[in-house]
């Protein structure tokens, strides 16, 4: 809707430079002056738009330049090496890639069903008077800073998990290597759990937009054929599935880039361990934790290369997510470009 309006705007015959009547000059009949205001305005505002867009490119270039040492030394092997030894100057990204991927997957496993449930409740079940305040509360959850989630996770979530949840998990599921061993409460699973709360708002918001964009006639048709409300909802979900996948992938992008809360509870140790209780590291938390104390050029540049990997991964994820969401909402709705 918005884009068609503006499209008409630039094509409408009333804009001065395209008008056959040349309003500006014709009104007074004064000597026609060449107008420099409009082109100047266009170029000036254009400069700033290009500046913002250019920053995205510049960030990539700058990080690539500043990680040329490890790129030259380790090549693509950087991605598959699991050694991280600043003293011997041997660096590999695998433990961080592993920690990032596993914590994000844990986060999604928990938050996706809940977010879908909230979104279905808001769009299909709740009356407006209830769904608007709930939506606002979910937005407020998204407004809470990462470092605050981290603080809460250190002093509330982690002790709770250490004292009650992890022992129970180990006694019931301890035959799996996933739930065995160290239980100080700071580790991969704790990071995944706090991430799941943090990505819940974004997945909920985008899914809500997507579900709202599904035409009401589909629900009515299903109901008219005698389906229950839930069966009609299933059909809506079916038709919104690409948009919902977009919402989930957007949540994945958030989980991967999340820094502070994860850094505070993941335990910060570059290792690949079978146990989810064990300390680990994500790409973002490694940068946050080691960057200021990195001594030696190649150490520092390896951290920057980790950042470059993170940039590329989030770039691809966000692009994919936006395409999927857009395929359902066609640009309508708030979440389309979050």
């Amino acid at each position: 809707m918005g884009s068609t309006l503006a499209g008409e705007g630039s094509a409408t015959p009333l804009t001065p430079n395209k008008s056959p009547l040349r309003f500006g000059r014709a009104v007074s009949g004064l000597r026609a002056r060449p107008r420099i205001g409009d082109p100047l305005f266009k170029w000036a505002t254009g400069f700033f738009a290009v500046l913002i867009a250019g920053l995205a490119v510049l960030i990539m270039v700058e990080m690539a330049i500043n990680s040329k040492l490890p790129i030259a030394k380790f090549g693509f092997g950087f991605l598959t090496r699991s050694v991280w030894d600043p003293v011997a100057e041997q660096f590999g990204a695998l433990p961080f890639v592993y920690g990032t991927a596993v914590s994000a997957v844990i986060a999604l496993l928990i938050s996706v069903p809940i977010s879908l449930g909230v979104a279905i409740f808001l769009v299909e079940k709740a009356p407006r008077g209830l769904s608007n305040p709930i939506m606002f509360i979910v937005q407020l959850l998204a407004a809470i800073p990462s470092v605050v989630f981290g603080l809460w996770a250190i002093f509330v979530l982690a002790p709770m998990l250490r004292n009650h949840v992890y022992p129970a998990l180990q006694s019931s599921l301890g035959f799996l290597p996933l739930f065995r061993g160290n239980q100080n409460g700071l580790g991969l699973l704790t990071a995944g759990l706090i991430l799941s709360i943090m990505v819940l708002p974004i997945i909920t918001a985008v899914t809500t937009d997507v579900l709202r964009a599904v035409p009401g006639t589909q629900r009515e048709a299903a109901l008219a054929l005698g389906s229950t409300k839930w069966e009609a909802t299933l059909i809506v979900l079916q038709n919104a599935r690409s948009g919902i996948s977009g919402a989930i992938i957007l949540g994945l992008g958030r989980a991967i880039g999340e820094t502070m809360a994860v850094t505070m509870v993941i335990g910060n140790r570059p290792q690949i361990s079978a146990s989810l209780f064990d300390p680990s590291f994500t790409i973002a938390s490694a940068i946050a934790n080691e960057f200021t104390e990195a001594s030696g050029e190649i150490y520092l540049q390896s951290l920057i290369e980790l950042g470059l990997i993170l940039f590329f991964v989030t770039f691809i994820i966000n692009m994919l997510a936006r395409l999927l969401v857009w395929s359902v909402t066609r640009g309508e709705g708030r979440g389309a470009h979050v």
Partner: protein, 280 residues
């Protein structure tokens, strides 16, 4: 009949289940806010707000340095991010309905989706490293970069909401396009642009990661832009990681201050936008 009963049962069960999910989301916010309130309110006092940190064990330690630092950093960020964002947004809405606009929008959204820690590393490589030391200025730049894409996209959206007849009326009076855009269109969209800017401020106010390698932190009150500067978020991170009980309490109290600030901004925006909808 038993089939229908089963289907109805599933229907009711799913309604209850989705309702529970909503309840969980709402409850988790209040659960976290509750902890922040009870954890923070103990340590909160006038002295806490107007004193700078003191060594462990001394009474009347405070976070005035972090509050002042945060205000300076956010102001810097806004001064950098808002004009650029608003002007860029004007371009997108006025001249961006073509392929160039699509490309710009794509790159701007890429910047929005870039993890904030990467913005921090970027500013470190272009400012902190060449200058040779951490500085509040570089922190402000990092926050400004985070703001730009958000402000640009909300400005664009708000300008697009302005009825086309207004623009045409201005042009019909013979005003050049730039005057119509600035004097009529932007003015009409001003409240929307302002609320967008407020949300962007609320967003950067909670950022820690871009400040880690730029403004760093500082244990005393300083207003020197070329030196490191404290911020509420960095202080919370620093105190939370420390082994001292006293500092943990200060982290909770600082969190209460920060979260109150951010929630007030968000709720204010909600109230402002609700009034606008009622008038429309």
């Amino acid at each position: 009949m038993s089939n229908l009963a089963r289907r109805k049962l599933i229907n009711n069960a799913m309604t209850a289940l989705t309702g529970l999910c909503a309840l969980f989301a709402v409850a988790s916010l209040f659960f976290i806010l509750g902890y922040i309130f009870w954890g923070g309110v103990r340590g909160l006092s006038l002295g806490f707000l107007i004193n700078s940190p003191k060594p462990i064990g001394e009474p009347d330690s405070g976070i005035a340095n972090a509050i002042v630092g945060s205000v300076i950093l956010i102001t810097l960020g806004s001064l950098i991010g808002m004009p650029v964002g608003i002007l860029g947004g004007i371009y997108l809405s006025e001249f961006g309905s073509n392929k160039v606009g699509l490309l710009l929008r794509f790159l701007i959204d890429t910047l929005t989706g870039t993890p904030s820690i990467i913005i921090g590393v970027f500013v470190w490589t272009v400012m902190v490293h060449p200058m040779g030391h951490f500085s509040a200025l570089s922190g402000g730049v990092a926050l400004g970069i985070m703001m730009m894409p958000i402000v640009a996209r909300t400005t664009e959206e708000m300008i697009r909401l302005v009825p086309h007849s207004l623009r045409e009326a201005g042009l019909a009076l013979g005003a050049p396009r730039w005057r119509v855009t600035l004097g009529v269109v932007l003015r009409t969209a001003a409240s929307g642009v302002a609320t967008g800017a407020m949300l962007a401020i609320a967003r950067i106010a909670g950022e820690t990661a871009p400040l880690l390698f730029t403004a760093l932190g500082l244990n005393y009150l300083s207003t020197n832009l070329l030196q490191p500067m404290a911020s509420l978020t960095f202080q919370i991170y620093y105190y939370a990681q420390s082994p001292y009980e006293e500092w943990h309490d200060m982290a909770w109290a600082a969190t209460l201050v920060l979260v109150t600030m951010i929630l007030v901004l968000n709720i204010a925006v909600k109230i402002l936008t609700r009034n606008r909808h009622q008038q429309a």
